[in-house]
Amino acid sequence: MLRYFTRRLLHGLFLVVGVSLLTFFLLQLAPGDFFAEMRLNPQMTAESVAALRHQYGLDRSVATRYLLWINSVRKGELGFSFAYDSPVASLLWARARNTLMLTLSAMLLSWLIAVPVGLGCGARPGGWSDRLCLGATSSLLAIPDLLLALGLLFLAVRTGWFPTGGMVSPGFDELSGWGKVRDVLSHFCLPVATLVLGTVPVLVRHVRAGVVEVLASPFIRAARAHGIPHRRLVARYALRGAAAPLISLLGLTITTLLSGSLLIEVVMSWPGVGPLLWEAVLARDLYVVVGTVMFSTLFLVGGNMIADALLLAVEPRIRTE
């Protein structure tokens, strides 16, 4: 068991290092850097641009810079942002907290919705609820999440029920403690709703498929022959049987939610990692891009490891050697 987890940990570490190397060296291929635009500025002399580049170490070789970057990771700084003139880590943590808040609550909410709905659909395959479910999920799947986000924003603008962007209202600091919570929650609604609407149909389909498969298996027929009512069969036996494939889906949900939230955050101006990465790409703020990509990798690798541990707890038959 311990060996299994050590191996998984090493594997995760390999991935993280590999991704850091990949992004770092790809970014070196970029023509121009953060200071390239400055050269066009008539108030900057070529010497001062060169001095700035020297100061930030941009005139050194790629390998040296990678080592320097590793060193700064060791110090917990994750490199230096040119645009914000501060270590990347301090920038990233504030943003990462907001992104995590968004994605984790969206994930929780979508599972809370998807499991009962999927059970309801799969309980009687081919029945009216099943067909309704398939129709609803396919139509939701066909709506791109960008359109979903824009549509919800349109609704918010037209009705005024929800704030249309950001995380807090102007004048947030003057609000009382309860008022602050309510303010953030109201800003939460739209991005979370978009993410949930994008994830739920996929999850519902997986839950349904799992339940249908389990319900067709012999042990369910045996249980039915023993007179266990259908409702209890579905809620207890089928759900437990379908749990294993669902848990391995957890990793998938994290990926889709992270990718989805990147776009949604920019569209809804949620102060998360998404807008940070977007601005960094536009400004060629090298280390911020690397840092953000590293954050997403870490989150994903961690999520997958948690999913593996859960899977092991539910399904002891899985070989760990």
Partner: protein
């Protein structure tokens, strides 16, 4: 309906969609780049069948629209003069100084024949009026024409990127599965690396190493290259699985015994087995890449203006007043729904045909 019928139905539907965007320059009444600064954000033109005197006409007609000072207010139709819709016209609307000037230049170069090069359009109206079936954008460009041309760019980007990703995946997956050993190990580690990242982050990161300011054509092909390079991992893994089981078959061993080369074995006996997997992956990857193009272009990192794509058409909604007031600016996004529905139906039908339970 049997699985085969559903596949044909989905293919036919998608074929019709693609044909309509391919024929964009015929179906659209205007050139997508032509501006009319006098008519920004004109609401969709209404087609009339009954005139002011209550008489019914079989041929629909339109009225010109006076731009109103109030944003989003329905424009005031000038009912004094009707403009009948004409079909199969030659380049309906002049009065477009830009294009006229261009054509005059070209006409001068080519001699008089230059002006005759204007091509046929399915429908149009007389020069004094303009027909905006889906409204116009902030520069007075016809949203319907831009939607069709933008669809051309976006759908093509999806198909080309998926083709690239599948080609890479097929090649690398086949090599990994067929030869095994350290090659397999290396390629599969690469697959894990690419699958470990949320793909939109990866797309952003790869986009970051390309120059920011590019011409529209360059950015289009770079976008395709980036998406294809990012998306190869999943098909490669699936192809490898198929190849692994196929190369152990008796007929492969027999062919090898008769002295068949590796290349022949792959081409003749092993890779045809992967056809189903590749097709199903195409059904999944194409909409994903269309969405990626839309997202990147929306964020200003994809296809650049003035070439329309569904993404940069939606980008106008980043302005608050456009989002709040002009509902027809959402239509490029709505147009994606049938495309996606078609591709999902196709992928589902293909998966069922392959004996996989649709999820």
């Amino acid at each position: 309906m049997t699985g085969r019928h559903r596949i044909y139905l989905a293919l036919g539907f998608l074929g019709a969609l693609h044909a309509s965007v391919l024929l964009a320059s015929f179906l659209a009444p205007y050139d997508p780049k032509v501006q009319d600064r006098e008519l920004p954000f004109t609401p969709p033109t209404r087609l009339h069948f009954v005139d002011v005197r209550g008489r019914f006409h079989l041929r629909p007609f339109i009225y010109t629209c006076e731009p109103s000072s109030m944003p989003a207010a329905p424009c005031v139709e000038d009912r004094t003069r009707a403009f009948p819709l004409r079909f199969f016209v030659r380049e309906s609307s002049a009065g477009l100084e830009v294009e006229k000037a261009n054509l005059a230049d070209r006409g001068a170069e080519l001699g008089v024949g230059g002006l005759k090069r204007r091509h046929w359009r399915l429908f149009g109206v007389d020069q004094q009026a303009r027909i905006f079936l889906l409204g116009s954008d902030g520069l007075g460009r016809d949203q319907f024409s831009r939607l069709l041309h933008g669809g051309q760019v976006s759908l093509l980007a999806g198909i080309l990127a998926a083709g690239l990703a599948l080609g890479l995946g097929l090649m690398l997956g086949a090599v990994a599965g067929f030869y095994g050993g350290w090659v397999d190990e290396l390629i599969m580690r690469g697959v894990e690396l690419f699958l470990a990242l949320p793909w939109l982050y990866l797309l952003f990161a790869v986009r970051a190493f390309l120059p920011l300011h590019l011409s529209a054509v360059q950015s289009f092909f770079l976008l395709i290259a980036v998406m294809g390079v990012v998306g190869w991992a999943r098909p490669a893994r699936l192809v490898r699985c198929v190849v692994l089981s196929a190369r152990e078959r008796d007929y492969v061993a027999a062919a090898r015994g008769f002295g068949a080369s590796d290349a022949y074995l792959l081409r003749r006996h092993v890779l045809p087995q992967a056809f189903g997997v590749v097709m199903t992956q195409a059904g999944i990857l194409i909409p994903q890449f269309i969405l990626a193009e839309v997202a990147l272009s929306y964020l200003g990192l994809g296809v650049a203006e003035p070439v329309p794509s569904l993404g940069n058409l939606l980008a106008e909604l980043q302005q608050y007043h456009v989002l709040a007031s002009y509902w027809w600016m959402f239509l490029p996004g709505v147009a994606l729904i049938p495309v996606f529905a078609g591709y999902y139906a196709l992928a589902n039908a293909l998966q069922e045909g392959a004996g996989v339970v649709p999820t």
